[in-house]
Point group: C2
Chain length 190, copies 2
């Protein structure tokens, strides 16, 4: 997505060889017009996927996910992160390890909000090591729901997340694909 | 806002005399069309307030805030919650006590995202005891920014938050105002 790549070039801050900070338009300060454009684009890409519901994880996934859901005219659900987990029969849960923060979060979704057989589109802001998407897929599996696609705002192709998803044979669409960071510059894939 | 009051009557779950659960359309599962309608309404109510930026707190504030910001054509910033706080010169911070969870969270905003003199519209999903809004106001004050309004999705008029804000002489607009819960039913104010 041209608009997003240009914004990353203009406003993204590369830190070392693995980290891209986009906190001035995506995950702390948010550009709502860009979020709407991204939601429209995800809806266009998954127009034929018969999506029943959009699923994301708080907090950074919420803005792109809610615009995607609006454009697809379906509800959105955001999984909640918990540091500690009180087991409950009312929730689906999964563990999500963050390599950046080096900590495990639990993500939980109330069982009322994913029904068996529902067709889910997963949305997240970053695909790096794939842990958040993996957690959402575990939750979908536990709910007997079907993951019909994964929409990623920014994919880092040089980390292992994409390979993990390709093994699972799920359709992945990323709005920007980053192949590497070289001398503080972003090198896009393709 | 009629649409929201009807939705609360239809889908809200009253628990005891103080708690309203709206997790099936506002803060876990999210109705994107309702979020857009609410954002448009906040933008209409604060059309003359010359808003520079919308400020909210993750996670439940993000969806209404991003649609408000879209309609006002300004950026949105969401404050991040932290359990523990590493003091940093780069962030504004405030303590927010949750009466529901009986715990204190710290909310932080990167100093780059609020400039002195900026006119802020604060958005949040609930106004009960006013702690989250109070935290955002402390951050605005520390940044020398001006709070030109507070937009609340659901206000519980019988808790102390509204009185706290009225003391501060700030304009508050709530889309739904709840005066009481009686026998599991919602009694709206006005």
């Amino acid at each position: 997505m041209k608009l997003l790549e240009e914004r990353i070039k203009q406003d993204g801050r590369v830190i070392g060889t693995e980290v891209l900070k986009v906190d001035n338009f995506l995950n702390h300060q948010v550009d709502p017009a860009l979020m709407k454009a991204m939601g429209d684009e995800f809806a266009r890409l998954f127009a034929d996927a018969k999506v029943d519901k959009v699923l994301t994880v708080e907090s950074s996934g919420i803005a792109p996910a809610v615009f995607t859901a609006l454009a697809l005219n379906v509800p959105m659900v955001f999984a909640r992160k918990k540091k500690s987990l009180t087991l409950s029969e009312d929730h689906y849960t999964a563990d999500v390890y963050s390599f950046t923060k080096q900590e495990t979060n639990h993500v939980i979704v109330d069982k009322r909000f994913i029904q068996p057989g529902e067709r889910l589109l997963l949305i997240d802001d970053f695909l790096a090591n794939g842990q958040a998407v993996e957690g959402m897929m575990q939750i979908a599996e536990a709910a007997d729901a079907e993951v019909v696609g994964v929409g990623i705002v920014i994919e880092k192709t040089f980390q292992k997340g994409r390979a993990l998803l390709d093994e699972r044979d799920v359709r992945v669409e990323s709005l920007a694909r980053i192949a590497a960071f070289e001398d503080g510059e972003v090198i896009f894939a393709d």
